[in-house]
Symmetry: C2
Subunit: 260 residues, 2 copies
């Protein structure tokens, strides 16, 4: 199939391998202090060894089917996928107002983000499928901010990927040396992360000694990976090209950071 079709792409792997998949998925309770959280995990049962592991951080709505689908797609890539819960078991925002209300406490007290993510890291390392020397984290929108804050904390994981993430640094940014490689996938016209914030992040990551990349997509606004996003006035619109391109870039990034 490949040789008859000149051109090589990460995509082809996914196409070629769909037929050998046996994806197991389930939910698992875990705690951050006394807060009960519910993660969703998925992996390809055809792989018997411990797997490089990808934490998936949800947008402001919470640990919705959107991130569960991403977890299944990550599992298809051969990784152990764990969709993190930041809000609490079963807590999902419906309206923009509800979602904003759920997210705001974490924006007001950024250390809460680290507390939740460190709880998730602790939980996944207890799971028997996880290679705890090969962990990365991806996130979408609010989840992008979460994985950037995780990297900012100087945590020793392989990499983080932010999809149309919120970018602003915490006010009391500890400016740790950033060990995780960073990939930021951004719509150039994202009203929630305007160009000056992208530039500020680039400066911040450089000063923190991070190995970083920013991929900027033209004519693309916020939430470009979400097929349900269709609110141009609010600045959230799905864009198939950017969705596809960013997913391929993430694949190659994960392959790179897990290769060492």
């Amino acid at each position: 199939m490949l040789y008859g079709n000149p051109g090589k792409s990460a995509e082809i792997f996914v196409i070629n391998n769909e037929d050998v998949m046996a994806i197991i998925s389930n939910k698992v309770d875990y705690l951050d202090g006394d807060i009960l959280l519910e993660g969703f995990f998925a992996f390809d049962d055809a792989i018997k060894s411990r797997r490089p592991t990808v934490l998936i951080n949800h947008p402001w709505a919470g640990r919705s089917p959107f991130v569960e689908e991403k977890a299944l797609k990550i599992a298809e890539l051969g990784y152990f996928a764990f969709a993190v819960d930041m809000y609490g078991k079963g807590v999902l925002g419906q309206s923009n107002e509800e979602c904003a209300g759920l997210m705001q406490p974490f924006m007001d007290e950024r250390s809460l983000i680290l507390s939740r993510l460190n709880a998730a890291l602790y939980a996944v390392k207890l799971l028997p499928w996880v290679d705890d020397n090969k962990i990365a984290a991806i996130g979408f929108c609010f989840g992008g901010l979460c994985v950037l804050d995780l990297a900012r904390s100087g945590v020793d994981i392989k990499g983080v990927v932010s999809f149309h993430g919120l970018l602003g640094a915490p006010e009391q940014n500890q400016a740790h040396a950033i060990k995780a490689k960073v990939l930021v996938l951004q719509g150039h016209d994202d009203p929630m992360a305007p160009v000056d914030q992208v530039f500020a992040l680039q400066q911040e990551l450089t000063q923190a000694g991070a190995d970083w990349q920013v991929h900027s997509y033209g004519n693309t606004v916020h939430a470009f990976t979400n097929p349900l996003a269709n609110d141009p006035d609010f600045g959230t619109v799905y864009k198939a090209e950017a969705d596809k391109r960013s997913w391929i870039s993430m694949q190659n990034f994960l392959f790179e950071v897990f290769a060492y």
Copy 2:
């Protein structure tokens, strides 16, 4: 091999396929008006059909072994590769001064760039291995500027990729609608293309209706794909990570633009 190694990447294709390569390469004379030019082409003889074709535009030194190697690597991807000659058969700059002297006439009269590139397009379309409905162009440094100018001309090709290119628009920019998809691969600390020029290009491409992406690499300056570049004071330093990442991004871009 793949299934024992979780993670999918465009890289693996190259690794897996090196052993089936039978790369043919040669030089070919062609003309722009009465200027004799010498291209270098390469293709994989294992592919019998007409191939998607990639023009390769050289840095300021001229059609050197650097672009010949890139042509061989493009051929390994299954495409017909044609390294363009902008300066004239056998003309190569040795010192920075010579290279600047060769490039300057094209910077002073940008229409010369289009004249040379249209001559190259005409020449490749006469070759029996070329699918002239699937043509893209890549370029390095000065060659990046050349392929951006080609896109700016509104030419009907599938895409252009600029590696650490010079970005400034021509003074008399005709502002054609840009049909070619555009991928710009840039070092964030490139002194020949500072951040404000990247931003200006993003605005220009948006206004021209282009489908564009910019990938920005942190802690990376000019000429990051050139293993011989090692002049921090001049702002040209090879960077293996950015070289590798940009080549993978180009692979996926070419796969995408040739798929339609």
